[in-house]
């Protein structure tokens, strides 16, 4: 994303947030409502390139975890905040509801427990269902279904678009974003922290929020704060073409096990279908590879719930890493490092909880002494951008009359026009992955086979970058190696 700034380029801030995933982005946006200088730092080439880009994209139903956990309380609060946020921030979100399918009579016991937990957690509208009710709610379910749970409030969201919109809103309200800023040093002098990046850049701030996901443990160490270890648990997925006949209307969960919510069938908000995730503990926190053995489990498991799933519909696979630290989130004021807030162990349901994490961290900062004065001119809305895929032919006609680039279809599979690619580049997304997450171009059935070269040309034209500066996701991920 390079460098995006709302305000002038001062390097002294009230709050520096390390990590621009959904946690950091929500915190930054929430703080941008106050008279504060806020900077959001991320080591990657764009925001939301960590765990926040590769997950199930579910706004959970509030029945999976006991209220004794902070994560459960924040999940329930966060889930309720999404309607308002979607209105303000124009990201894809829909409350399609969640079903948990029991395939054997003995699984109904677990369904009963989930139901009670949901009721205790205050979830609205949750129901225990008969076989008939389940098949009515989701006709694609296996005929073996014996019953299950229905949580109508559960939903689906495009997590990276959510993060991008949050960051855009924060920047609009004066926050600054520095990408490619890998925090590796911290010094305390007087009442302030100086935070240094591996490339020599530095910023100073009175308060620092550690929302560094998988690497929150390392960041904590850099600041001399609490010692802990984040472990990665990998989740692999298959993505199915939007034309698959197996697309359910609801998010379909199996009955959970003690370690995970199980492998799901998710109708993504953009029309494709996601199968997964698996759950496997791994050592290397940068290992996003998929494995044959894990992927095989997915199809098998998904088919027990929705038998019509076919491997011929698979368009891609990917993996995400859950940053785990015991059972719960660890969000607190550091007892060791002054002015340092820990936002660590944000595993599932971190996406759902993230808006509430923003509120919670704002209150912790206030408790730690930060003065919060509301801005008079805070604007919670971001500009709504048209998507050719969503408009009818008459609206399309209007758009093309204003800007002919809307008529030039760059990505045939996801119906993305040149104008939308240009908008992504102008919003600071200049890597192929950044453009993919912002526009969906390269995300469909051909996976960029047809449009990659077109996107490369548009980025070069719009940014003046050379062919050797075009990357998939920054740094060493160069696309081209030479010219003829």
């Amino acid at each position: 994303m390079g460098e995006t700034s709302g305000k002038g380029s001062c390097d002294g801030y009230d709050v520096a947030i390390i990590g621009a995933g959904v946690s950091g982005a929500n915190i930054a946006r929430r703080l941008s409502a106050y008279e504060l200088d806020v900077v959001l730092l991320d080591k990657e080439a764009d925001v939301s390139f960590g765990t926040s880009k590769a997950n199930s994209g579910i706004v959970h139903g509030g029945f999976h975890h006991n209220r004794k956990y902070l994560k459960s309380r924040l999940e329930i609060q966060g889930a309720m905040m999404f309607d308002r946020l979607a209105l303000e921030l124009d990201f894809p979100f829909r409350r399609c509801g969640i079903v948990v399918a029991a395939l054997h009579d003995d699984e109904m016991l677990a369904i009963d427990q989930l139901y009670r937990q949901g009721v205790e957690n205050g979830v609205i509208g949750i129901e225990m269902c008969s076989r008939e009710r389940m098949l009515g709610l989701e006709p694609k379910l296996s005929p073996d279904t014996v019953g299950g749970l229905w949580a109508p409030g559960g939903g689906i969201v495009e997590p990276y678009r959510f993060a991008f919109s949050l960051v855009e809103s924060a920047v609009k309200n004066g926050a600054r974003v520095l990408t490619g800023f890998a925090v590796e040093r911290a010094e305390r002098s007087g009442e302030r922290w100086t935070v240094g990046a591996s490339d020599g850049r530095a910023v100073s701030a009175s308060y620092v929020v550690n929302a560094a996901g998988l690497f929150a443990d390392e960041v904590s160490r850099i600041f001399g704060a609490e010692e802990y270890r984040i472990r990665a648990r990998k989740g692999e997925y298959y993505l199915l073409d939007r034309l698959t006949k197996a697309r359910p209307d609801r998010v379909v969960f199996p009955v959970p096990t003690s370690v995970s919510k199980g492998m799901l069938v998710i109708p993504t908000v953009e029309g494709t279908v996601l199968l997964g995730p698996t759950a496997e503990s791994i050592e290397d926190k940068t290992d996003l590879s998929t494995t044959r053995s894990e992927l095989e489990k997915i199809l098998g498991s998904a088919r027990t719930m929705i038998p019509s799933i076919s491997e011929t519909d698979v368009i891609t696979s990917f993996a995400g890493l859950r940053p785990t630290l015991g059972e719960d989130f660890y969000i607190d004021i550091s007892a060791k490092a002054p002015g340092f807030i820990q936002v660590a162990g944000i595993q599932s349901p971190g996406l759902t909880a993230s808006p509430a994490i923003g509120e919670y961290v704002k209150d912790l900062l206030k408790k730690a002494g930060l003065r919060l004065v509301e801005k008079g001119d805070y604007d919670p809305y971001v500009e709504k951008r048209p998507h050719m895929k969503d408009v009818d032919h008459f609206a399309a006609d209007g758009l093309v009359k204003k800007d002919p680039a809307y008529g030039n279809m760059v990505c045939r599979c996801e119906r993305v026009s040149e104008a939308e690619i240009v908008a992504a580049v102008r919003a600071g997304h200049t890597t192929l992955d950044g453009i993919k997450y912002f526009t969906r171009a390269q995300m469909g059935r051909c996976q960029g086979g047809f449009c990659t070269y077109k996107i490369i040309k548009i980025v070069m034209r719009e940014t003046g970058l050379g062919w050797d500066e075009i990357t998939k996701r920054g740094d060493a991920s160069r696309i081209l190696k030479d010219t003829l």
Partner: protein, 418 residues
């Protein structure tokens, strides 16, 4: 929104689309070609190698040369080519068919017509379709994308290359990348035989000493930011020999693992698909189940030679013209794929007309026999010196051949290979 009217609209301006449009124009009908790229020619434009037109022009042309000859013909007619224009939606619910087309130059067009020829070509299967596990670094491209980058944009996507799949595009790219100074370390094929044309194996691999690993599966792609290698595992009797797996260091993986006809638009209007070809099921006149919607070229079934594409497309164009003039097929008889035949296209013949049938076999064999049977009686037998799945076979069936079918109450034509 601009409103336009034609007798017929051809979707796709590749070899198939141009050939079909020329027939329609020749029959005195008004016709437009809608092509989403900036030029006519389709995939031919990036195939700068020779090997096109041996049947059509009796000489070996490059892809762009072949395309140019057709383009020149199109220019000399009343055909209106809309380039840089994408057909987004088709509506066949009313009397006339409506096509909504998007273009930067022309804006949004609504074309109404009575007949449509589908000639959208195909797309490449990708990594996800064949489910290669591993990391997701830069440097994994389809061979066609690499071909485009090198031949048209002038960029070299990588230096040390492994090609997965022995389809024609991959073989051609093995040679192309060698020519531009890259090292092609291997071509890896899961099947026991290559899936590209024999002439390409010789000219593109043997001549450059590029090893071809048959019966080998690509089991992993490694590399964080950019590809660092691929793991390859031999297959023995269908089982993975995990202990014999090895890794080839490279910075680029090119995938040539098959083509899929692009039928999203066809499906949108309810065109029935043939699961064997991934293209529409068509009658003897190359018409789909949706009346007035015809299909030809790679969108109907994947062809290996452009000469067959134009031959088939001419027939489609001519049939569309006849249909527009009110003529219908006479005596439709179903054609079945018999033993050792993967598919036949079209899946029907007109027992009272001359028919051309394309088919692919399932086997590799020398001195094979192709038999056409009507109600289990052999009506035609053809010797083939060599057959293999990658090389399409054509059969002509005239009204004389099919006389037996014409006389039978419920005839079945079957084509088998032994």
């Amino acid at each position: 929104m601009k409103e336009l009217r034609y007798d017929a609209v051809v979707i796709g301006g590749g070899a198939a689309g141009m050939a079909a449009a020329l027939e329609l124009d020749g029959a005195g009908l008004s016709c437009a070609i809608v092509e989403r790229e900036e030029n006519l020619g389709g995939i031919l434009v990036q195939c700068i190698h020779n090997g096109f037109g041996l049947i059509e022009f009796n000489e070996e042309l490059s892809g762009p040369e072949f395309a140019e000859r057709f383009e020149d013909r199109v220019r000399g007619t009343g055909i209106k080519p809309y380039v840089g224009t994408t057909v987004m939606d088709i509506d066949v619910s009313g009397g006339d068919k409506l096509l909504y087309c998007y273009s930067a130059e022309y804006g949004i067009l609504r074309m109404s017509c009575r007949a449509i020829v589908l000639a959208m070509g195909c797309r490449e299967r990708n990594r996800g379709n064949i489910r290669i596990p591993g990391s997701r670094p830069a440097g994994v491209y389809t061979a066609g994308l690499a071909q485009r980058l090198v031949n048209i944009e002038g960029y070299i996507p990588g230096k040390d290359i492994v090609i997965v799949g022995s389809g024609d595009i991959g073989l051609i790219m093995a040679r192309r990348m060698s020519w531009v100074g890259c090292k092609v370390h291997a071509v890896v094929e899961i099947l026991p035989y290559p899936s590209g044309l024999t002439r390409n194996i010789v000219q593109c691999l043997h001549d450059f000493s590029i090893p071809l690993y048959l019966s080998h599966l690509t089991t992993n792609i490694v590399g964080k930011d950019r590809v660092e290698g691929v793991e390859i595992t031999p297959l023995e009797n269908g089982a993975l020999m995990t202990e014999k797996a090895f890794t080839i260091a490279c910075d680029t993986v090119l995938l040539s693992v098959g083509l899929v006809p692009e039928n999203e638009l066809s499906k949108q209007v309810g065109v029935e698909m043939n699961p064997m070809t991934n293209g529409p099921s068509v009658d003897s006149r190359l018409m789909t189940n949706v009346s007035g919607v015809f299909a030809c070229g790679n969108v109907l079934h994947v062809h290996d030679l452009v000469d067959y594409v134009v031959e088939e497309a001419r027939r489609a164009g001519a049939f569309a013209a006849l249909w527009l003039k009110g003529e219908r097929a006479k005596l439709e008889v179903r054609v079945k794929a018999g033993s050792n035949v993967r598919y036949v296209a079209p899946g029907r013949v007109d027992a009272e007309a001359d028919n051309k049938i394309y088919l692919r076999t399932l086997i590799v064999k020398n001195d094979a026999t192709l038999e056409v049977r009507v109600n289990n009686r052999v009506i035609k037998s053809v010797k083939k010196t060599h057959i293999q799945p990658s090389e399409m076979i054509t059969v002509s069936l005239g009204a004389k051949d099919l006389a037996a079918a014409a006389g039978s109450p419920d005839p079945v034509v079957e084509i088998a290979i032994s």
